[in-house]
């Protein structure tokens, strides 16, 4: 569920197919820089109302999903 929502947001940002995004996909391979990661996380927050503590050790989409899970 979280992955699905997150993939959709990433896909909108990067003009890619959300189906190609998995937990193992790295943020780097998606071409996401740190500002874009924060942007996407804040958009996720606004849609879901979950307050997310961002940290800088996020490497993969799975890391972001895990982080959101911890904050829910």
């Amino acid at each position: 569920m979280v992955l699905e929502k997150l993939s959709k947001l990433i896909a909108e940002h990067k003009d890619v197919d959300p189906a190609g995004i998995t937990l193992e996909t790295t943020l780097e391979s998606l071409g996401l820089d740190s500002l874009e990661v924060v942007e996407i996380i804040m958009e996720f927050e606004e849609e879901t109302g979950v307050a997310i503590e961002v940290n800088e050790k996020l490497k993969t989409v799975g890391d972001v999903v895990k982080l959101i899970g911890e904050c829910e």
Partner: protein
């Protein structure tokens, strides 16, 4: 006289913060700016707790006015210097290179006003939620580590998305830029490059001379390939760096290694071949070496004059 809520918030006379420039913003520059009525900032850069504590104490012997500390969140010593500012009860901490949320609780408990540097609206919202007292919206005209957005575009949007004071940074080196920042919605400015030429700034004379000689097209941004672009003067080092960056055969590690320590070489040794002379686009607007107090008074009085005259455009 300029009136800004930032002056009340920080206990300063002029709404001017001095940028937390690594290897440059030390006790000498910070105390001079604070004594002149601005907010001087000591940069904790990549230094350890012992160095920072000593620099803070030194600054205290040179000024009785409030001053701040800039914490570079990517520093290997970030955790320990974060403790030092709380223990030393530093009134204002500015942060760069990341999200300060992890230190926010302890800083707020120590009564510190936290003012993060932000390069996008999402980061501004994030730090506001975490308890920031104000934000510095820094456009890509700045020197050192920069974002993509310009000051002109970033500042009004940050003003629209947070309900805390916004300080504009990037490209501001005189009263015109300062007045413009207020028109964009900011209530103060952060100035880095112009203070490089302050008499009290201890940066190497070669660095000051390079700033004074800089032309409008005299800076470039390097390091985009590594994901953290840096604006610096065009010098043999930065040209070589850019060539390496554009060479597909040069790896990221090699590039990192080539850049390591280059700012120190410029700031401390004045090494014009191997040094990285970080500076904002406004370098070309810096015309003279002056006392920090003169810089601040000139900027503030020019801004005041322009803001007073703003009504001439309306009937």
């Amino acid at each position: 006289m300029l009136v800004s809520p930032l002056c009340t918030l920080l206990g300063i006379r002029y709404p001017i913060l001095q940028g937390g420039m690594a290897w440059i913003a030390d006790a000498h520059l910070a105390s001079a700016v604070s004594n002149a009525g601005g907010l001087g900032i000591v940069s904790a850069m990549n230094a350890d707790a012992g160095w920072l504590r000593e620099e803070i104490r030194k600054t205290r012997t040179m000024t009785e006015k409030p001053f701040g500390v800039n914490i570079m969140l990517m520093s290997p010593f970030a955790d320990e210097v974060a403790k030092v500012v709380a223990e030393e009860r530093i009134p204002v901490v500015t942060t760069g290179a990341g999200d300060p949320s992890r230190y926010m609780k302890s800083w707020l408990a120590a009564g510190i006003r936290v003012i993060p540097v932000v390069a996008s609206t999402a980061v501004a919202k994030l730090v506001r939620r975490a308890g920031a007292s104000a934000v510095i919206a820094e456009g890509g005209e700045s020197g050192g580590h920069v974002g993509d957005l310009t000051t002109m575009v970033l500042v009004p949007q940050v003003c629209d998305c947070v309900d805390i004071p916004v300080i504009a940074a990037g490209g501001i080196a005189d009263g015109r830029g300062m007045a413009a920042a207020f028109m964009l919605g900011a209530v103060g400015v952060q100035v880095g490059t112009r203070f490089l030429a302050a008499n009290e700034c201890t940066v190497h004379q070669n660095y000051k001379d390079r700033i004074l000689r800089a032309k409008d097209i005299g800076t470039i941004t390097t390091g985009k390939k590594l994901g953290h672009p840096v604006r610096c003067l065009k010098t043999p080092f930065s040209r070589r760096y850019l060539a390496m960056e554009n060479d597909a055969g040069v790896g990221k590690e090699e590039l990192e290694a080539f850049g390591a320590g280059a700012l120190r070489l410029a700031a401390k040794e004045g090494d014009e071949i191997n040094g990285c002379f970080m500076a904002g686009q406004a370098a070309a607007m810096v015309k003279a070496e002056q006392p920090a107090a003169e810089i601040i008074e000139e900027m503030a009085s020019q801004a005041e004059l322009l803001l007073r005259g703003g009504t001439r455009w309306v009937s």
